[in-house]
Amino acid sequence: MSRSDDEPDELQVWRVLSEAGLVEIRLDEFAERIRDVKRIVTGRLRDLLDFNNRVQERESAAYSLGTLKGLELKVQANAPKPPDPPKI
């Protein structure tokens, strides 16, 4: 009985995303995960600057980075406020 050829890829993607903490993101982790992904996109964008023939990919990465920045600001602005510390 042969399994799908895609199975190793799917399991690998699951592992990669799990290790990056991106399969199940808790509410209090979203801002941090956005920052993590922004770092990845920024690194890729930096690499792409060395290639003159990958303009479209560069533009797409830049757009994604802008989207992530916008989402980060909104998520931070909507973060639940911690309760005030008790006054002594």
Partner: protein
Amino acid sequence: MMKSTAKQLDTAANWPPQEGQLISLKSSAASETATLKEVRWGLVWRDFILEDGRVIPEHRISGCPLPQAWRKISEVTDQEREECEERLLSMAGAGMDPRKRDQSFWAELNQYLAYTYLRFKPAGSKVQDQDKE
């Protein structure tokens, strides 16, 4: 053991559940049953939309066959990605409830982050189509 395998095969053959079906799931709060309204593909995995509007990823639905069918990032069109980005920014602009994890905004944001990570992550570990030109 035989029964278990037979049940798994049966589940896989009938997966995903039908609209209107009662499904068991693990929500962000607890294990429960709920009525399925719709199954929708996100950028990476399938989301199950419940009658009450909550959005639950497929891997939290009881009986989900393993490994789950996930999309390859190359299957996502530029238009689909751009629409997702617009939708997320629009939903964020309209305000989200920071206490409701199963809200559609958080579900879509989770998938967008997973997809964007897979798309731009450094080469080295071989993951679907990462280095396709």
